[in-house]
Symmetry: C2
Subunit: 212 residues, 2 copies
Amino acid sequence: MKLYDWHIAPNPRRVHIFLAEKGLNIPLLEVGDGFVLKQDYREKFPQAMVPILELDDGTIIGEAMAICRYFEAIHPTPPLFGTDPESIAQITCWENRANEECFLAAAEVFRNSNPNFADRSLPGFADKLPQIPQLIERGKTRLAQFYKKIDGQLKKYEFLAGNTFSAADITCLCAIDFAGWVELGADSPLAQDCPNVQRWYKEVSSRPSAQA
Amino acid sequence: MKLYDWHIAPNPRRVHIFLAEKGLNIPLLEVGDGFVLKQDYREKFPQAMVPILELDDGTIIGEAMAICRYFEAIHPTPPLFGTDPESIAQITCWENRANEECFLAAAEVFRNSNPNFADRSLPGFADKLPQIPQLIERGKTRLAQFYKKIDGQLKKYEFLAGNTFSAADITCLCAIDFAGWVELGADSPLAQDCPNVQRWYKEVSSRPSAQA
């Protein structure tokens, strides 16, 4: 199998960290080229999103969390999506919140402000899609609310979905570091009054997997 | 346990259909009141989103798919999130696409055009969040692309994530019917040149669970 990768991009990083936590090494194929995806990749996969996992029989699995759940199923240890009904549910919930409320909010700010994405305000569109400047401010509002929300959760638990490190922490770390690209990350004013976020961020960032 | 429900809303419907497919009956507590959530619910859950599952010990599980994965874990039959690594991955992938590319796109159009949501352009915000009219057009573009994408997938497979009905079909049906609220559903011009979407829509809509 091989993983089509854009190494600096935040979505593939979710898979890198996940694989590092599992102790797995999967062959990577870099398909990024500066601010765009290489042309042969865009021709092979017109949706033009990363990461994609290609199995040896040619089966294609898209989406970071789908790839992670694939590896969870074939290498269950250590478990990163829960082990009982409640942990399974809480990890799904917080992973989804980190994605929708932080990752997508950071993407809103980044894609609608960066001049390199002037006609590409959403990933996965072949046709031009203009930027919407109002989404920058809205994205900041969403991120500020997200930091407050998870600060309350991290006051109660060591990690985002409970007292065990999980896929929810991975998505959240990648999302917050992505917000850092537009200076709205963990060291920004948005998060400075969130002591539990600071404690958690320091802890998950210092895990070896964070460098994967 | 009980499920806090806003019966007409599209997110709770994902859980209703899921439970019906499992043959489960869970006590529902209606918390919707016209176009808003009841005040006592908003006070108890300031995030003010539905659905929420409350277990008998007071544990709270938010997010439609987290609730569904909870029930999958305690009632595995019939399986709706896959049974082997590949089906687990494909269902996660297509459920996520249906959510991000269709459900959220429909929400963009609805929330930014409906006068009842003038200051509530995103769910879950206590403070006012103004509408962004450009998101209406962008949402239509996203929906049009989504119909084309799943038409290709449904040409190859009976259901969205393969030849077995799954949680991906549930999210997709709820998302498309939500798009119907703003006249961009399966019977709209956006989907009329997608014969495989039409075939699939007729099939999943006629399952008894669709009326749940």
